[in-house]
Amino acid sequence: MSYWSNSEQDIKAMLKTIGVKNFEELIANIPEDLRFKGQYQIPDGLSEMEAQKLLEELAAENLPLIPFAGAGAYDHYIPAIVDEIASRPEFYTSYTPYQPEVSQGNLQVMYEFQSLICELTQMDVTNASMYEAGSALAEAILLALSHTRKQTVLLPATLNLRYKKVIETYLRHMDVQIVEIPQKHFTLDLEFLRQNIDDNTACIVVQNPNYFGFLEDVEAINQLRAAHKALLIYAYDPISLGILKTPGEYEADIAVAEGQALGNPLNYGGPFVGLFSARETLLRKMPGRIAGETKDVDGKRGYVLTLQTREQHIRREKATSNICTNSGLLTVRAAIYLSALGKKGMQQVASLCLNKAHYLAEGLTKLAGISLAVEAPFFKEFTIKLPVNADTVIQQFAQKGVLAGVSLQHLGLKDHLLVAVTEKRTRQELDHYIEIMKSILD
């Protein structure tokens, strides 16, 4: 298969126009000793049909299990209109709106996306997206450090460990002290926080619901951090905001989330989309693109990229961030998702997750030897303590086509399992889950 347009006849004519005899003349300036002289050791090209067969075979080597795993990636239902619209080449083959006059579609969607996320979170401002939650949190911390000019970052042990690793990578080279706040009863240890927060604390990151699925006492945390003028970076689940108190209500300075749940497939972990919102006072230091409303010369409403003086193509090394290409297409999907579900739908989907998660938790904890890790409120995800090794349980579930959850072995909690339930899980699947667990324990 070839994706160039011109035939060898065309090429001949073009070389003539250029005034060279052959292609080689055009690259004659490249020194011999820099040239690649061999042939790629890669297979011959394929026709589209052969490629399809090959990739279908690869896809068939994967077995999508019914996911009761979450931990940052959630199997929510994607309305058909999301795929239908986002698969239009008008969206997926366009690029950054450098020429706003022929990019009003993308720009208006960006503006609508920003507004939708602001309304969902009750935050002042939202950018046009980051890569995913992990690096978005890292960028949030960079912003907090830059804004506060302080050096300590508090990271709770109840934060998704994968996010934490990305944060550490981003901060490793900096003159910053990361203090880990341990968990106590699977929520952040408030007492430890009280003792360790001080005026040198730039920010604290709170994930709520936390990595274990449980709700943090954000108000208590808030009081502590307010006393020391530390910023609150609040990591949320966008689906949860259908019913849970918002980062805006918690007076977060920066709110970050993984937006995959809003109409985007699991895709084995990527592309995902980082949602990044902030208080208005942080706007000028916020990373990422922002669309704003304006007028054209005829007075017509239109949208442009705005506040670009924060960005690297103008500010170069003085830019607030190096982010450039982001997750544009996923924000289109999120905007459609939020528009379709709307006010009522977002409440409903959250309520469905809540009820189903509690139904499963109740069913499981009736089994001998299983208990909730802690008797704390949770939304759609929760941690259970098993009488057996969680990894073994996961393997046994996998044989039945079910992804039981995420093992907490990496935290030294071998017998703990993190379970997520979305609105897609039917009662039959929930009962089946309980049955499998029962049979394993028996």
């Binding site: 250029i18 490629a51 969206f91 997926y92 006059e101 507004s115 084995y268 544009g328 409120p377």
Partner: protein
């Protein structure tokens, strides 16, 4: 024409999507979660019927220029054709519905694809190891710079400076700054190459490495790589290649064999994955043996035909992505490479270079060509002559919109005044290139014959010139905040 915001379509009681009934016993939210944790005022999201949601976003889509519409010669962005088969393949349920926490034995196809993509990219770039994690080119840069930093740290030294030529992408200095480096800018010669004298003058024991884009943003191949390597070797500094223009090198040059230690690759540029209106992209980073032990975790390894995610990398810089990178983009890039294959990829480059030279040959008299060195896949013209006659590069760009083609990248690179950076890519036909040339010639005539038409352009677009200063002054970036 209809041009509303989704919020303006909202009407109380309308529904765009119905959720399933709850098939487990329903409890009230407050019976399951204490009231203090609950939201009391619902988000005022739109209430719009499905039909109207569809029409709204379909209408918005039609306001965009896109590759499947017409020419899109944005320099440095590589707006090539995005094969449709890749969309079909990335949508296979066996890829699309995989949870990232699935056990390795149930995702062998995904891991094999990632492993093989890595091997292919290594073969194409001439490097010995790779990470697929970075989500975009800029994150690839960050990753590469962290690797360079680590290299020096492992040698027990603190290097603080990154050298960046003045022709570099804006992300280069920004990425270096985020890694805590100071940036020193290296001048270009009149030929658009690195000024070796300036380079030598600026190279000392503080230098961690140099970031080069090759071909440069001028579309010029840096021929002095061996000489630059020698200068860097004197202080054991490393060479980073910004691979945004790898499109120009298939079959001709393998960067890993030309002195570079590390490079990033833009899958959404060279390997044709769609740009999605600004992402997602994907920016794998390839390295040589000096840096391989520091790559982000996890990496994919193969053992007896089985594939695993290896997290146990004691010298790794950490992770730059929550999971494993933009997997769905890998699927597309993998399909692209396999479809083009061993001899197709060099043809991509051949066609891209010929297309660029074909345009240049016809435009170099009309515009100024400040750097007349041989052109690879793109080239930069200057509209200085036109500016003197009354129309800036910006005006020409806006007028091009009326001709139905997207303008080149303008005012970049910064070292060319009134720059117009043109990258046709291999996808375009001779006829489309001819249309572009004719349009520019016509606009050039208009400057003399009908200057106002050019200065007032665009005329045929959904909106006309937009007030960007006004957007900053009367900032409105959130419908709800503005309405309050």
């Amino acid at each position: 024409m209809y041009r509303k915001l989704i919020f303006e379509l909202s009407k109380e009681g309308r529904e765009g999507h119905t959720l399933p009934r709850c098939d487990v016993p329903v409890k009230k939210n407050e019976d399951l979660i204490p009231d203090k944790y609950l939201r009391h005022k619902a988000a005022n999201l739109p209430q719009v019927a499905e039909n109207e949601v569809v029409r709204h976003f379909v209408m918005l889509s039609t306001l965009n220029h896109h590759v499947d519409k017409a020419f899109y010669p944005l320099g440095s962005c590589t707006m090539k054709y995005n094969p449709k088969i890749n969309e079909r393949l990335a949508g296979l349920p066996g890829f699309m519905n995989l949870h990232p926490e699935q056990p390795a034995e149930k995702v062998q196809g995904a891991l094999r694809l990632m492993y093989e993509l890595g091997e292919l990219l290594k073969e194409i770039t001439g490097f010995s190891a790779i990470t697929l994690q970075p989500a975009a080119g800029a994150q690839g840069e960050l990753t590469g710079l962290l690797l360079i930093k680590k290299y020096h740290q492992m040698k027990g030294r603190q290097r603080t400076v990154i050298l960046v030529p003045d022709s570099a992408h804006g992300t280069n200095p920004a990425s270096a700054a985020i890694c805590g480096f100071r940036i020193k800018t290296v001048r270009s010669t009149e030929q658009g190459l690195v000024d070796m004298e300036d380079l030598k003058a600026k190279t000392d024991e503080n230098v961690a490495g140099i970031m080069l884009t090759n071909p440069s943003t001028l579309g010029i191949f840096e021929t002095q790589l061996k000489e630059i390597r020698a200068v860097m070797d004197e202080v054991d500094a490393l060479m980073y290649m910004d691979g945004a223009n790898l499109n120009a090198l298939f079959g001709i040059v393998r960067p890993g064999e030309t002195g570079f230690d590390v490079m990033h690759i833009n899958l959404h540029k060279s390997f044709s994955t769609p740009h999605g209106g600004g992402g997602p992209g994907s920016g794998p980073v390839a390295v040589n043996d000096k840096l391989k032990d520091y790559l982000p975790a996890p990496i994919i390894i193969e053992k007896n035909g089985r594939y695993l995610l290896e997290y146990n990398l004691p010298e790794s810089i950490g992770s730059v992505h929550t999971f494993y990178g933009n997997f769905a983009i890998f699927v597309r890039a993998y399909a692209y490479i396999r479809i083009l294959g061993k001899s197709g990829l060099p043809q991509v480059t051949r066609h891209a270079i010929i297309n660029a030279n074909y345009l240049k040959a016809q435009l170099k008299e009309l515009f100024e060509l400040e750097y007349p060195a041989p052109t690879m896949h793109e080239f930069v013209l200057s509209a200085e002559k036109q500016k003197k006659r009354g129309a800036k590069a910006l005006d020409i760009a806006k007028r091009l919109l009326d001709y139905g083609v997207h303008p080149p990248t303008v005012y970049f690179p910064l070292i060319v005044k009134e720059a117009m950076m043109i990258e046709p890519t291999e996808s375009e036909s001779k006829e489309m290139l001819d249309v572009f040339v004719q349009s520019l010639k016509q606009i050039d005539r208009e400057i003399d014959e009908n200057l106002e038409t050019v200065l007032q352009a665009p005329h045929n677009t959904p909106v006309r010139r937009l007030d960007e200063a006004g957007a900053v002054k009367n900032l409105n970036i959130n419908y709800f905040k503005n309405k309050v």
